[in-house]
């Protein structure tokens, strides 16, 4: 006989979170510890009485930070419901009120009281000057906030929400809070920053003067002057999206419709953008077409002309982005082209359409939504790209780099950066909306329905020739560019001294042997280890958050699910530069004060890459029949046990994929990172950019090559493991033998 949980009077989960709250309040240092999240020097440094490291209870006992004391009430209140049944009315009421009040008070005091006492003037007006201050929250606050949050969600669950499922309600609550904190809050902060005038007040005028700036919307380029950054970005993105979609379609057609023998090699191409730091292509282009590039000098010698700087500007950026994002379009379009049901095409052929007519009247129209999807993806990628315009942009201003210069350059204008970021966000979000509106949920569901035993027809001949020629040329070009990257890393000084050398690798990665043991003397080691460390720390968190979110989205129904889904996928459409700026603005001051730490990098990676984990999770979870969960539930497992014992083991490949991809993406990211790095936590990509700015191309390329090979190894490792685990997995769905 099963004992119903609703009749139990001991609640281990509740006890755990109450205990956590007490630990957070009475034992852990309330405020952030300066030395870093994972340093424990504070234990021996005046803890628990020193003001910097004291737990909240000790602070109050010493008569300080008295505004923390009201949180004692919601800490004590839940103790009274411990012996009660979940179905008793006071159980849920007490938990909801205690958790809700505690959490709200914690947030309110965090925002209300900052480094200079009260944050808002009206608080000064009401309560008078505070005469005290506080810094960013630390372990204690973090643990206590979690405790309050999960007490609250347990109260909600006890009221019967989602069948009273504590795990699901808590997971929803947790995801909402972290996404709100690390996506919506910083973006909101940034939007407000756009309205702040030099005197510190809010004003619409400031916003409008910055918004209608000629540097943003100017159309001078039609008569020889310069265009505004917004228009530049838009034109560039449209061009890049068009070209990548066409090229991607050409490659996809070759793979699926041409009997071409090297399909696997072509498919391997799709891995390139994942493992290539975004600006590396630009470096290779400089080696080829730059002022002292191979091709440039060759033609200059041939025709006796002066080499020009044509590469720096729109043409260069466009070529680089096209090279970088064509594989992404290819990846999307393979699925689309394969998704066209062969029996439709066969039907058309039996109705006397020839191959070309079939393609034109049936295949192409069926691919249209997929083409739109690829176009919008290319648009978003190009808009958000930061590395290539930074290296190749020259006088061609685009939004993402302008944001960077507004914050980092001599102008230091937060308001301008915020306005630019808003415009950029507007473009990418519009594309994101359009994508979701047109394609809806189609992109998630795998091709289901009746088995389709048909065969795709070959491409019509009049299409095949141009497709092969274009794809062949572009493929060759891609290979040359990547060859250049490897080759360039061995050349001493490109265009000047073409002797081959290991010099750059030695500078970057030399290892010395001293009496203290191994000495990592190369200049790149520092940033390399930081990158690995940060990426490795972010990857499991990203995967976990992504998979839990995917589980909630595919397996549970709850009010507001659409908004929930939208919120979690949104960060996909937020360009890295926007994230970077907003994080600086939001997390430089209490209550969350993490700029300059490794945490901010980890956090930014988690939320930048979360959609990847969510998508991977959704894709593989929708392949698992829902009756698996249901049978587990009817067999007496609760939803957490079902998640752990049934879903997770079946998702092992998806988990690995999410792990490796978030690791790799964290290593290649540059746009958000460049705002968030500090002297202590420098990342590989920003280090390389720094080398490029010093014209130290050799070292930059050598470092980039190393990164590419490290990541190639990671992806290959993944292939190896996933390839193995998939055996014996799919067969389940074939009944009988």
């Amino acid at each position: 006989m099963r004992k119903a949980a609703s009749e139990a009077t001991t609640h281990p989960v509740l006890i755990f979170w109450i205990a956590a709250g007490w630990v957070g309040f009475f034992l852990l240092p309330w405020y952030g510890v300066e030395d870093g999240f994972l340093s424990f020097g504070w234990l021996f440094d005046g803890y628990p009485f020193d003001e910097d490291f004291a737990p909240a209870a000790f602070l109050i006992a010493q008569g300080e930070k008295l505004w923390l004391s009201p949180m004692l009430l919601p800490l004590i209140a839940p103790l009274f419901v411990l012996g009660r049944r979940k179905s008793d009315a006071p159980y849920s009421a007490v938990l909801i009120v205690a958790g809700g009040f505690g959490f709200a008070w914690l947030i309110a005091q965090g925002f209300g009281i900052g480094i200079r006492g009260f944050t808002y003037d009206w608080l000064n007006a009401v309560f008078g000057e505070l005469g005290d201050r506080q810094f960013g929250m630390g372990y204690g606050a973090l643990v206590l906030a979690s405790s309050f949050l999960f007490l609250f969600t347990q109260g909600i669950a006890a009221r019967g929400a989602i069948n009273g499922d504590v795990f699901v309600v808590s997971a929803i609550g947790g995801v909402i809070v972290v996404v709100a904190t690390f996506v919506f809050f910083p973006i909101a902060r940034m939007l407000f920053a756009a309205f702040i005038s030099d005197e510190g007040g809010y004003s619409m005028g400031v916003f409008f003067s910055k918004f209608f700036d000629d540097r943003l919307w100017g159309i001078g380029c039609f008569w020889g002057a310069r265009c505004g950054a917004a228009l530049n970005s838009f034109f560039l993105a449209v061009c890049v999206a068009t070209i990548t979609t066409s090229l991607g379609l050409a490659f996809a057609l070759i793979v699926t419709r041409s009997g071409f023998r090297f399909n696997r090699a072509l498919r391997a191409l799709t891995v390139l953008p994942i493992i290539t730091p975004p600006f590396v292509i630009s470096l290779a282009l400089i080696l080829l077409f730059g002022l002292s590039g191979t091709v440039t000098t060759f033609f200059a010698d041939l025709f006796g002309t002066q080499p020009t700087r044509w590469l720096y500007g729109m043409p260069g950026v466009m070529i680089a982005q096209t090279l970088a994002y064509t594989p992404i379009a290819f990846l999307v379009l393979i699925g689309v082209v394969e998704g066209v049901s062969p029996s439709m095409e066969e039907a058309a052929q039996t109705l006397r359409a020839d191959r070309w007519q079939t393609f034109k009247t049936v295949s192409l129209p069926l691919m249209r939504p997929g083409l739109a999807n690829a176009f919008l993806l290319g648009f978003i990628e190009s808009m958000a790209d930061f590395g290539n315009p930074l290296v190749l942009g020259g006088n061609f201003d685009v939004l993402s780099t302008e944001i960077f210069f507004a914050i980092v350059g001599a102008q230091y204008d937060q308001g301008r950066a915020a306005v630019l970021a808003m415009v950029l966000l507007f473009f990418t979000l519009s594309a994101f909306f359009a994508q979701r509106r047109w394609l809806g949920k189609k992109s998630y569901t795998t091709v289901t329905g009746k088995g389709d035993s048909g065969v795709h027809p070959l491409m019509p001949r009049r299409l095949a020739w141009p497709v092969f020629i274009i794809a062949g040329l572009w493929g060759t070009f891609t290979v040359i560019v990547y060859g250049m990257i490897v080759f360039g890393s061995f050349v001493e000084l490109w265009g000047v001294s073409n002797t081959l050398t290991f010099k750059h690798y030695i500078t970057a990665f030399s290892v010395g042997w001293t009496e203290h043991g191994l000495h990592w003397s190369g200049s790149a080691w520092d940033s390399f280890f930081t990158t690995i460390y940060i990426a490795a720390a972010a990857a499991p968190l990203t995967a976990a958050l992504g998979l839990v979110t995917a589980y909630l989205l595919t397996r549970q129904t709850f009010a507001g699910k659409n908004a929930f889904e939208f919120g979690t996928m949104l960060s996909f459409a937020i360009p890295g530069t926007v994230i970077g700026v907003s994080y600086i603005l939001a997390f430089n001051v209490p209550p969350i004060e993490i700029t300059g730490t490794g945490i901010i990098l980890i956090v930014s990676f988690i939320f930048r890459n979360m959609p990847v984990g969510v998508r991977a999770g959704i894709a593989s979870m929708s392949q698992l029949d829902k009756s698996l969960d249901e049978s587990s539930l009817t067999l007496g497992a609760n939803s957490w046990q079902t998640f752990r014992r049934v879903i997770l083991p079946l998702l092992r490949p998806a988990i690995l994929a999410a792990l490796v991809f978030s690791f790799v993406r964290a290593m290649t990211a540059i746009s958000a990172v460049i705002f968030l790095v500090s002297a202590q936590y420098n990342m590989a990509t920003s280090y390389i950019i720094g080398r490029v700015e010093n014209n130290d191309y050799g070292l930059a390329i050598a470092y980039a090559t190393t990164l590419i090979f490290v990541m190639l190894a990671a992806v290959a490792f993944l292939q190896l493991i996933v390839g193995r685990t998939q055996i014996g997995r799919r067969t389940q769905f074939v009944t009988g033998r």
Binding site: T634, L635, G636, R729, Q732
Partner: protein, 359 residues
């Protein structure tokens, strides 16, 4: 060691005014009252979309009733989630966990019911024994045939000794020959252990074969409840008559009613049968195709429109003055010619009057 046996702990199930509304206005089940007795196999039968699977899932706790009460035993379980109900379910797709062996699958639920490892194992093996899969412990579900997977799913549900065992179209993924076999196995186990079983199917033959009682559903409501024989012989309305087996619906006229007996006329042919509370006047008659006699001396006129030989019998399409009819005759040696005129009469206990629809 004492032999581990699987026993039944059956309990009755009751629906009290249960409705289920999906979203805002999609009514899947409307105000249903139903009592499933202890140890009975009750089938929910109906066309797709009639709400039968929703009913089943509400018993399981996978869907929650919008209004009304559900009782298992004498306990109100309306608000209990699936995890906390003492109910197990066999799924249409079997839903065996592909990453666990047969034995792990079967003992999965026992682990959550507080059984020690050794006992869970013994029980799981007893369950496998019961369904005739001894020695398959270490196989993966993917290494079993469809019928074997099905039996593992049954064993997995049985070993928990649930108060109610639910089957959601358990035979629909099996081929025709296996279906009869598994159907009989399920019925035998149910009767041996005295289980309360609620069984969903859209196959009327399957329902007739396994059930103690059949609940015919239509448009989110119950059309009729009864034993297989009651449903077949005395359908409550035209829908049930047509859904359970095949039936010709023929317009007739009740000429006179004497007590329980009515005399009807069809195109001049007179016949006496149970009145079922109807008064004189026009009425509808349901006649099973195999309860029709062709070519006798009396009856009403018909023309053979089509004659089909299907091996064990002859099937005829007839044209009559009121429309077309379908009849089955056992005599395959001397088939009737297409186009010939015949007299149609009813066998004894053949036709049944359809009560007027409460429209």
């Amino acid at each position: 060691m004492a032999e581990t046996r699987i026993t039944g702990k059956a309990a009755p199930v009751s629906f009290r005014g249960v409705s289920k509304v999906f979203g805002k206005d999609v009514v899947a089940v409307e105000k249903i009252d139903l009592d499933v007795e202890v140890g009975k196999l009750v089938t929910l039968l109906g066309p797709s979309g009639c709400g039968k699977t929703t009913m089943l899932r509400m018993i399981a706790g996978l869907e929650m009733a919008t209004t009304g009460k559900i009782l298992i035993g004498d306990k109100d379980v309306t608000l209990l989630p699936a995890t906390d109900r003492d109910v197990s379910m066999v799924f249409q797709s079997y839903a065996l966990f592909p990453h666990m062996t047969v034995l792990e699958n079967v003992s999965y639920g026992l682990g959550f019911s507080g059984f020690a490892k050794a006992e869970a194992r013994a029980r799981a093996q007893a369950g496998l024994d019961l369904v005739g899969l001894k020695g398959y412990d270490e196989r993966l579900p993917s290494e079993l045939s469809g019928g074997q997977q099905q039996r593992v799913a049954v064993a997995r549900a049985l070993v928990l000794e649930p108060q109610v065992l639910l089957f959601d179209e358990p035979l629909s993924n099996l081929d025709a020959k296996l279906r009869r076999q598994v159907r009989e196995d399920i019925r035998a186990i149910q009767q041996d252990l005295g289980l309360t079983v609620v069984y969903v199917t859209h196959d009327q033959e399957e329902a007739l074969a396994v059930s103690d009682e059949i609940v015919v559903m239509r448009n989110a409501a119950i059309a009729q409840i009864g034993t297989p024989r009651e449903l077949y012989d005395a359908p409550a309305d035209a829908f049930v008559a047509d859904f359970i087996g095949e039936a010709n619906l023929i317009p007739c006229r009740i000429e006179a009613v004497e007590g329980e007996t009515a005399e009807i006329s069809v195109d001049g042919y007179r016949y006496r049968l149970a009145s079922r509370g109807l008064a004189a006047g026009p009425a509808k008659l349901a006649v099973r195709p195999e309860r029709i006699d062709l070519g006798g001396g009396e009856g009403f006129d018909a023309t053979i429109a089509k004659a089909t030989y299907v091996g064990v019998r002859m099937e005829y399409s007839l044209t009559t003055s009121f429309g077309s009819m379908f009849a089955v005759q056992d005599d395959v040696q001397r088939p009737l010619e297409t186009g010939s005129k015949v007299k149609v009469s009813f066998k004894s206990a053949g036709p049944v009057l359809i009560p007027r629809e409460a429209a």
